[in-house]
């Protein structure tokens, strides 16, 4: 009951004209960003953070705007998957498998609306999951001391490489680079400058917003330049939608699938390092095994569209649980959302729920509102979004680059930060070339300082005994999970990735 009262209070916070307006703008922008190949949820949110920041929005409105973008992108990714067989963002990859065949059969409209409904169901249940699970996690987190926090941060890094990276050494490399960059600046505990090489601009440390926008958004521009991929993928293809209301029988047939995959996707999202891509993948695989008796999956089965979409939207909601309750994000986009909170001087984690209940519950209420808006936007207005697919990257990418510059320049007004951002863009491009994941870099820059200060506090309290780091059952438990999380992908990750790839290959060629 307590929870419901707090949720009701959250709705009071969220239901102002400004917040509703921001949620609507966020939903629209998010859907567009999700739909356009080359602009995923993490770079979408990344280029908007500095803007939210310079516009002087408060913490709650900023979070409402940006999480609406996040949810919206999860909806939008499916549009180009279904119509063009090109995933708009990574989690929408699995939606191609049945979505595109449906479109070829002239059922694009039905595929879009079924996937829209599935997205809604997934996100709706995941938001409830967030409400129920996050406060429980907070109770556990309140038992954490500095040593446990240090172990938790280590866990986040060790599991984040997870299934997404091909090589754990490269994930560790990325994390070390991020942590190393976080050390730049004046040490908060003793006041000595570190790694600044006498450059005054570096005394404040490296602004993580500059790093994020450079690594995500600018490096994307370089990738497009590398391939001179300037023409729109939709050009020359006929994009016909047909009827946009699915027959009730089709919806009914998909309901059990949607419910099952919502649960599964949510769990995948809560686990650190898994994220929405895994959520949609295991959802699709499980449903194929469970209900595909006639062998229609992969040939345009509506359930094959509903499963990954419910799964990835539920995972997106699930990924918010560790981010809000522990302050440790489990995926790339939630890492970027963590940056938003940090830049607004709000420390996520257990204390967030007691100190800033307005932010938490306002945000949760806004997620419900955004979800209804997205359903309304995505079914009748889907035709408008499909037009946007015709925008070629040769127009889109310059916009992305210029908006990135506007945002960063707006924060500091210094050319130095812009140069640093370009540097990060180049580094991001090189790291991508070497298949080094970028998310651990971001996470390192964000969490480096809290991680270090927890380490120092823990050892300080125990009078210099480093054994304190494994001094409690809770800490030992976290270390064990961390080590398992680091080792498991070495053995299982390859198999899973091969399967993901194999499934994509034999379901018809998908242009990357």
């Amino acid at each position: 009951m307590d929870t419901l009262a707090q949720l009701a209070h959250g709705f009071e916070v969220a239901l102002t004209w400004q917040n509703i307006g921001l949620a609507l703008i966020g939903c629209l922008l998010g859907t567009i960003m999700g739909a356009l190949p080359g602009l995923g949820p993490s770079n979408g949110v990344a280029i908007l953070i500095p803007l939210a920041f310079t516009l002087g929005l408060g913490p709650t409105p900023s979070m409402i705007l940006l999480t609406s973008v996040y949810y919206g992108a999860m909806y939008g990714g499916r549009i180009s998957s279904i119509l063009l067989n090109i995933p708009g963002d990574e989690p929408a990859m699995m939606t191609c498998l049945d979505g595109y065949p449906m479109a070829q059969k002239g059922m694009a409209g039905e595929a879009l609306s079924i996937s829209g409904i599935a997205s809604f169901v997934g996100a709706f249940f995941a938001t409830w999951g967030l409400i129920l699970l996050a406060p429980q996690l907070v109770k556990i987190a309140l038992l954490f001391g500095p040593a446990e926090y240090f172990a938790l941060f280590a866990l986040a890094f060790m599991t984040l490489g997870g299934v997404s990276s091909t090589n754990q050494a490269k994930a560790a490399f990325a994390a070390a680079i991020g942590l190393g960059l976080a050390m730049v600046g004046v040490d908060t505990q003793t006041g000595v400058p570190r790694m600044t090489f006498g450059e005054v601009h570096l005394y404040d440390g490296i602004d993580f917003l500059v790093a994020i926008v450079g690594l995500f958004a600018l490096s994307e521009v370089f990738v497009f330049l590398e391939h001179r991929h300037g023409a729109s993928d939709a050009a020359g293809k006929k994009v016909e939608i047909g009827r946009i209301t699915p027959p009730w029988a089709m919806v009914k047939r998909c309901i059990p699938t949607m419910l099952r995959t919502s649960g599964l996707g949510f769990l995948a999202g809560v686990l650190p390092g898994a994220g929405a891509s895994l959520g949609s993948f295991i959802s699709y695989s499980m449903e194929k095994r469970l209900v595909d008796r006639e062998g229609t999956f992969g040939k345009g089965d509506p359930r094959g569209v509903a499963a990954p979409e419910a799964g990835n939207n539920a995972a997106a909601g699930g990924a918010l649980v560790p981010m809000l309750a522990l302050g440790v994000p489990g995926s790339g986009t939630t890492a970027v959302l963590l940056a938003v909170l940090l830049s607004l001087n709000i420390t996520p984690g257990p204390l967030l729920f007691t100190q800033n209940p307005d932010v938490v519950w306002g945000l949760i209420a806004a997620l419900f509102i955004a979800n209804f808006m997205l359903l309304a936007l995505n079914i009748p207005m889907v035709g408008v979004f499909t037009r946007l697919l015709l925008i070629p990257p040769r127009i889109l990418m310059p916009i992305v680059a210029m908006v990135s510059f506007v945002g960063i320049y707006g924060i500091s007004g210094s050319s130095f930060d812009l140069m640093v951002m370009i540097g990060f863009g180049v580094v991001g491009w090189v790291l991508r070339k070497f298949d080094v994941p970028l998310v651990p870099v971001i996470l390192g820059i964000l969490l480096g300082n809290p991680m270090e200060s927890n380490l120092r506090r823990a050892v300080q309290i125990s009078n210099g005994d480093w054994g304190v780091l494994v001094g409690s059952p809770l800490a030992i438990g976290l270390w064990i999970i961390a080590i398992l999380g680091f080792l498991a992908p070495i053995f299982f990750g390859r198999i899973l990735r091969d399967r993901m790839k194999a499934r994509r290959d034999d379901e018809g060629s998908i242009a990357d």
Partner: protein, 143 residues
């Protein structure tokens, strides 16, 4: 081969980082761990990961042909010039040039890239400055 070079560079970076950490001046008022310990740990992880990458390289990444690399370098230079001249000549002019350049290099025809550049610049100016009130770089003409 690329991964071996990458690993070697990473290793050099780790050694450099450890050296830079050893140069941190400790103040007389310090905690038990001090400001150097964590950077040393990071340098160790960086070194180990780089060594592993160098010894067990992944398959070669697909490198773009030289022309494309030059393209990226040129874009980086263009953006750096943009960053430098932005406060001097103002947002609208600088951005129009930069956006037109990027659009041209991504395959627009010269005329349409000019149109794209100008419309992107003016569009951003209208949305972000006139509507949202964000302060953009002011040049000699005030925009």
């Amino acid at each position: 081969m690329s991964d071996r070079i990458f690993g070697a560079v990473g290793l050099a970076l780790a050694i450099f980082y450890a050296f830079a950490a050893s140069q941190i001046q400790e103040s007389f008022l310090t905690d038990t761990v001090g400001p150097k310990a964590f950077p040393y740990i990071i340098a160790a992880i960086l070194g180990l990961a780089s060594a592993y990458i160098a010894l067990r390289p992944d398959p070669e990444p697909v490198w773009p042909p030289l022309g494309r690399l030059v393209e990226i370098v040129a874009a980086v230079v263009a953006l750096m010039i943009y960053a430098q001249v932005l406060p001097e000549i103002g947002f609208v002019i600088a951005t129009a040039f930069a956006a037109a350049y990027l659009s041209w290099r991504l395959g627009s025809k010269p005329l349409s890239s000019v149109i794209a550049g100008v419309s992107i610049s003016v569009g951003i100016y209208i949305v972000f400055h006139l509507i949202l009130g964000l302060s953009l770089a002011r040049g000699p003409f005030g925009f």
